[in-house]
Symmetry: C2
Subunit: 334 residues, 2 copies
């Protein structure tokens, strides 16, 4: 069985060579009889590459709130969201043959000992890979951040950074479907320009050009100098939904933010959120997104690479802005 492991904890920018693809003996395709807890063996079909994974390549100072956010263990398979086929299960909610999504290993088959964090795929008639993105964590994140955290109103001005990524492309479309004016970073500076953007003053002016009236909602994916430039351009009573800060994940020392003083006079709300808190409302989101897809109201771009051998390169590409759309790794199509 092939699997992708982290060789050592990473400092600074991660490289493909921080990971390696190993071939090991296969695991039994049955839940061990000795297990006291319900478990399942799954075949991994599609794996998701997400920016937050960089944070798991560094040893944490404190244990995280959710065990699946603990750092990767060097020598063991990397973990990410993925779409899986259940091969064997002692967990009553899933049976062999079901398609599910959740956090799995970067390997051909995985023994899952926390099946309760998996969600059954209700629409296998759509491409299964969509459950790594538009119907998975990325889509749900876009929905929560935009619809629930940012409380949008029709006609508002929405800015999305890292808009070529999995979440960004969806936030922009959800906002347009709601009748907001949307400007995305994608075609203007390109994701990687923004990522390396050092000239804060220019970024502030660029935003002023795109949003002469200012920004009501900022969907924050980037952080650092980008956040600083946005703060200056926010409108009164603006909201910043803080999904992540990809520009900061590879830095030993985070970039400073200088413009926090605008928060009071502009009565800005800055709010961080996590999908993990909100799974009970996943079903509502799934039905909304499935309708949008079936009615062709939404465009969804995937950047698909084939095979676990190519998974390390796909993940590293995220931090270099190489992907266009959601980065997916196919382990097996069925």
């Amino acid at each position: 069985m092939k699997k992708v492991v982290l060789k050592n904890y990473v400092k600074g920018k991660p490289k493909e060579t921080d990971m390696e693809v190993l071939t090991t003996s296969a695991i039994p395709l049955k839940v061990p009889e000795a297990s006291n807890e319900a478990a399942m063996v799954v075949k991994n079909l599609y794996l998701s590459c997400d920016p937050y994974m960089r944070l798991l390549m560094t040893k944490h100072d404190e244990p995280p709130e959710f065990s699946y956010l603990s750092e990767f263990v060097p020598g063991e398979a990397i973990r990410s969201y993925g779409v899986c086929k259940v091969i064997d299960s002692t967990y009553p909610n899933f049976k062999a043959g079901d398609y599910v999504w959740g956090i799995t290993g970067w390997e051909e088959y995985s023994l899952i000992t926390n099946p309760e964090i998996f969600i059954k795929i209700n629409h296998p008639e759509l491409p299964l890979s969509y459950y790594t993105g538009i119907l998975g964590m990325a889509g749900f994140t876009a929905y929560l951040g935009f619809h629930e955290v940012a409380s949008p109103k029709k006609g508002e001005y929405v800015y999305v950074s890292a808009a070529a990524g999995a979440v960004g492309q969806l936030v922009g479309q959800f906002a347009k479907l709601m009748g907001c004016y949307v400007e995305m970073l994608k075609s203007k500076f390109g994701f990687d320009d923004a990522f390396n953007y050092k000239k804060e003053a220019n970024l502030t002016l660029a935003l002023k050009r795109f949003f002469p009236q200012g920004i009501d909602i900022y969907f924050e994916n980037v952080g650092g100098a980008m956040l600083d430039a946005v703060l200056v351009n926010m409108r009164v009573r603006g909201r910043i939904a803080v999904c992540g800060m990809i520009s900061q994940y590879n830095l030993d020392n985070p970039e400073p933010v200088y413009n926090t003083m605008v928060i009071t006079p502009k009565r800005i709300r800055v709010e961080g959120f996590f999908v993990f808190d909100h799974f009970p409302s996943y079903g509502t989101f799934e039905e909304m997104a499935v309708s949008y897809i079936k009615e062709n109201k939404i465009t969804y771009v995937e950047d698909i690479v084939e095979g676990l051998e190519n998974a390390p390169g796909a993940l590293i590409g995220l931090y270099e802005g190489r992907n266009v759309g959601k980065q997916v790794v196919v382990v097996s199509r069925e």
Copy 2:
């Protein structure tokens, strides 16, 4: 008539000599008959010294949202919240003899052309000076920030910076009355230590010592390095009510904040607020605060100076941490 004027716009730390006390001819004690708009002439009794006034000593880049937040005009009387007695009025809500509070001039008598921003004093049986503080903007600010913005729950851990100031002392008491655990900066480092606090690492550790469990609610009065240290010590789902950032008002370049990256994993909400948005709920607050005062549930400390001659020194004292409690200037006791 005596009045206090700003001599010139201020750069950096303001000094007493940036202001001067002038004696000019008295104004007529009647609303001019030529006025088209309702107006009133008031006798100024008590004037409030508030940290935000530093921001009005510098020329603004953009016109502010509220005209009373436009910068002071060199040579004209400084403006602040104050308690006044109505001498003459063509505004139907107020008549001669009424006590009111609102933004007035640092002079003996003022012609008020926007009487609609004044509020009638419903409890003149209490010290009138309280309407510059506990029953005025400071108290209402403490109430809004703590009760409405921070959404406190019993037993939560509350940290108040600049707790010796007018707002800070009240937030701490409101929080205790609600059954929260409160730690204030006052006696620990003293207001002025915090103000000049340069050793961020120590501040972070000091907070960790006072709040080993972390902070649920931070009532932000200070900004800069203080905000940075607090972010590290916030608990999951913590709230930061951003009332102001006194440590930043005298700086040409604001201090950086490095720890914004905790906002997502801790799902922190940072929210700025202004009393000006909330005057419709002032009455609810006034009755709550009046009961607390009459039932002796709340301690309120005033730092009172006598006479307009001493007003510039009182205002400057705020930025040097000289005041203990609410800084008030008495122009006349009746």
